[in-house]
Symmetry: C3
Subunit: 456 residues, 3 copies
């Protein structure tokens, strides 16, 4: 098989497999009805996955085609693959008949977009250092592992993770960092192509801002009523506070007291990550803002001090996902555990049982609160313990899964980039001809214009 | 009249005409109430028209102002003109009192945005080769013709075309290609300015991605309940499958096995076009994904093999609308016909009558299913025949109307671009002064910076 | 305190203050329930504030980081500060218990985004001529003043201003112009860096188009039912008409008959501003379109003739906010006054009392129409008079508040930019290394490529 056709063959084989599995197993869900309430949240999340993550990664001056193109390709593959993994998994291990699980609905595709986010976070850690076939292999394995982790959390440990600080952000970050460690290449560490240009920095801000504005929808998409409104408000104020702190510390930690675009592009979003687990909890807006402010501190400390340290450990994190998703994800998980311990305090009311169904007392009419969980009658302290346990489980599973995946990706059968083409589109993409000389400008008004246009 | 003022005079005259006609005929619709359910779909479609189509066409390195600027101008004119055409047309030929037709509502403006999409597709075929006044003339005539075609389909042939594979995509594409044939200019065929730059390719991806994420809303906007949820799900999976196949074939058909941005920008969207007619039909997600996969194949075959052939026939298609809208539109229409033939099979239930009101049996309480159609009691096979008939009608009408319009546009009284300014903003736009030398940079930190900034 | 840390200290101090005040005073609103209906409007407005305003201001070729970065920073600060100002203000002066006012809800955060818009308009007037700390000071003072003005309008003069032509657009514009006058610097008036590049003009269009498509949501966000649908329709047609006229006059007033991007970027939006006050009124779509068309005329006249005149008066308006927000805002306020005078004419029905609660007759069951206002029984003519009075109050208050704020900003204790760094990111931002020479391109396919990439 010619090297050049690897990507084609893998993509075609996967798509044929997906078509067969869709045909054999799936139907439309029996009870649609979710469409009116959920669809605008779905669309906000959809914009985050394709526009937000895609453009956020266009910050490298020579890797823009790959950033936005691979993001689209991987996401288009992963939403299909995650559909199959989820249907299969839920049929194998969860309650109900097969028809309950192999059913498409708006709620289902929100979760497919969520599953894709996990992979795109890991993509950020290895951006510029992998070929597209390698990325597809990563997406296939990571999706299987991440959905097992999420199932452990929801079905077994019965934890709350509304905006998925653990299931998505922590998992994606530590999985990706482990892959980056295993694929480590000395040429990637000090590479002059790993830099932004003025325009690529602004393209990247398209991603940042769309992620920023729609993050409340991400954290609130699958909540209901008052829980949903709180998730929106908590995330809104958390992100605002995080942004103020991130810029303050970008200046304070810079030798010349200047602001860095990398912080504005990334650290300003840490408040959304950190508010994930506790999004629905009635912790009060002041605490939500504090959670965001601390996330901003953690993210800046990560960028300025931890990333250089990780680099010495041969963990080269292209997009800084440790600072945007890893540390703020852990912080969000801790906040969630603390929130669980405080459950039942003033202001919780019935939300306690909708958020932590495992706390529903035995003998209670638990169907009233939650249709899918039986009463377990955990105490608040116990629930907090389970939340912490899930933090640890996620960390371990992400690293183990990342290691396995990294070794598979390292096999010399894929399409890892030529040493000379790290952070460089030109090996895999037909390039625009902006470098070709042009001698026929007709614009008499601006001398030198023709020379220029060729370079814009 | 000075040549330079043509555009001004045409625009002012049209706007005065619109104001008078709005004042004489239109009122707010009597039964608003559509706002809550429809408005978020409207907004998604609105983003597609203005952001999606607008940025998709910014891929030419010297034609970005025109792409995004003319898109805005033509759309702003066409939503008004289409309002008048639709009001007039529905008053003349359809049932009900005048007040039913000259009424503005959210549902009405969704249809106005749809009408505009048709024109913007044709704009893609002639991008870079026409002046703005010519484009306005095209928009005026095309809108009148396309609304007749849609009326024939809905009111006379009683066909289903929820996402308008025929009414919008096929019509816009074959109309635009016919105009391009008639305006053919040898200088346009091999023009060095018809090329992208690195940045213009990424700007274009803004359009692609927003079209990609909101296409489910386009196909589902005017459906209801379960039909609407199915339209969303079918389109979501169709687009995912199409994207995977489009990239696979971009690599497979490239001599060096590289991916081309033009395919990522365009062919990835063919799954949305192809799912248009059958969007609401309960064909199963596996078939929806197959429809998208085939659309990806057709689009790639179009770009790699058909476009060069068309060029020899003097049909120069700047944006490749034949590959994104033409071929996938025909494929979508065929899928719709096949869907109609299969209507009544398992899973259809009552959707059969909401989707194909002409199949409502005589004697049935048809008001229950559909308020605007009388029972005709077509068989599924007959409905399929009518769907095929509409495909042919659309093709013929688009080509005839495009020919008439092309000859009007070719009249030497408009503002067709100077031969030297094909694919070039500078004839009609005041250009940014980035070409002017600058000698007063104050940035001591980066030698050579001043020379650069002037060129960024 | 080192000069470089000023921004950090101000930001940290403000965020700590916000956390304390949130903790002491605020709770979640008692009656959420607004989430389903309002949230998609909120998100549209949120995109306008962060994407729309942010990218609109990236048109300067060397000030893109600052435009998009300060926009995010100021907005993140202002939504928190406005929350406090509003809570405090409504507690001090309006009816009800404290708990009614210090409550977060979706409706509340829509208003916080609105308050932020006011500040971002003023930012446009001083773009490139202030440091970030100065901008924060401006945002703090302006928000306090603008909320007083809005309170005067709503609670005291009981005027209608649904899309806030007066409260937001006029206030933001005249406040900003006054600040610009006071900060006047001769070096800013004829500065070669105050120019766009080809790419910066297209980046700016991202802002324009998102503002354009979501403006109907802005004007309709806080309306209900039929009033809301009318606000959407009026704004949709007003913007379309304005765009047609703006382009017509851009050509007509240009010496060479060319279109200018600055007009496409800004004047096309004037129809949304002008439709603000009267958005909910049943004035008929033809009149809405006429309002937009006149706004287009005013905006173009402003750009071509008034802006140069203002410059001679030492009022240098970087973004042309006078032409986009000032003049069209006054025009919108006048239209609103005229609409009030016509209230009660055919088509108004019950909307008269939901729009103008002060017109509810004494003895009427006013709770039926409006829960927060007592009947005053104004005549339509009186209501029109109050609308005009509010126009004058807004103008005076904006100018007085702008003068006070301008003098505070002029104090030499802040971070006004070095004379050499007007309209230049490089003083406050770490710049991308695109100016550094690169001699190690590996792309054998394109000669000269390496020289280029460094400059893209």
């Amino acid at each position: 098989m010619a090297r050049k056709l690897k990507l084609s063959v893998v993509l075609l084989a996967l798509q044929v497999l997906f078509l067969i599995l869709f045909g054999v197993f799936f139907t439309y869900a029996k009870t649609p009805a979710t469409v009116v309430r959920l669809y605008s949240y779905f669309q906000d999340v959809h914009v985050m996955i394709f526009v937000g993550f895609g453009f956020l990664m266009t910050f490298l001056k020579r890797y823009g085609y790959s950033a936005i193109g691979y993001n689209l390709l991987i996401a288009a593959m992963t939403i299909q693959w995650a559909s199959i993994v989820n249907g299969l998994w839920s049929m194998l291990v969860m309650e109900g008949t097969p028809a309950d699980h192999w059913g498409f609905s708006i709620g289902f595709i929100v979760n497919m977009d969520f599953a894709t986010a996990t992979v795109l976070i890991s993509f950020g850690a290895v951006l510029g250092k992998t070929g597209p076939t390698q990325l597809l292999i990563m997406a296939l394995l990571e999706t299987a592992f991440s959905q097992v982790n999420k199932w452990l959390g929801l079905a077994k440990l019965k934890v709350e993770d509304a905006g998925e600080s653990m299931f998505i952000h922590m998992f994606g970050a530590y999985f990706g960092l482990t892959v980056a460690r295993i694929l480590h290449n000395d040429n990637a560490s000090e590479n002059k192509k790993e830099a932004s240009s003025y325009n690529s920095d602004i393209f990247s801000m398209i991603g940042t801002i769309f992620l920023w504005v729609f993050w409340p929808s991400f954290n609130a998409a699958l909540a209901h009523g008052g829980d949903q409104e709180r998730a929106i408000l908590n995330t809104y104020y958390s992100m605002a506070a995080c942004t103020v702190i991130a810029v303050a510390l970008s200046v304070a930690t810079d030798p010349k007291g200047k602001i860095s675009m990398v912080h504005v592009q990334n650290a300003t979003l840490a408040g959304g990550v950190a508010m994930g687990t506790a999004a629905r909890m009635p912790i009060g807006v002041w605490l939500a803002a504090l959670v965001g402010a601390v996330a901003g501190v953690l993210s800046l400390v990560g960028f300025q001090f931890l990333s250089p340290a990780l680099k010495k450990l041969k963990i080269h994190d292209t997009c800084g996902v440790h600072n945007l998703h890893g540390l703020p994800g852990i912080w969000g998980a801790l906040v969630g555990a603390l929130g669980a311990i405080l459950a039942g305090f003033e202001g919780w009311n019935k939300s306690m049982y909708s958020i932590f169904p495992a706390m529903i007392p035995e003998g209670a009419d638990w169907h009233h609160f939650n249709h899918t969980h039986h009463p377990v009658a955990r105490s608040a302290m116990e629930q907090g313990g389970y939340q912490l346990l899930m933090l640890v489980v996620t960390l371990i599973l992400a690293i183990v899964a990342g290691a396995i995946t990294g070794f598979v990706m390292k096999l010399p059968i894929w399409d890892s980039p030529n040493e000379d083409h790290l952070f460089d589109d030109s090996e895999k993409w037909n390039m625009a001809e902006e470098g070709v000389e042009e001698h026929h400008s007709n614009n008499a008004n601006s001398a030198g214009h023709h020379e220029l246009d060729a370079k814009v």
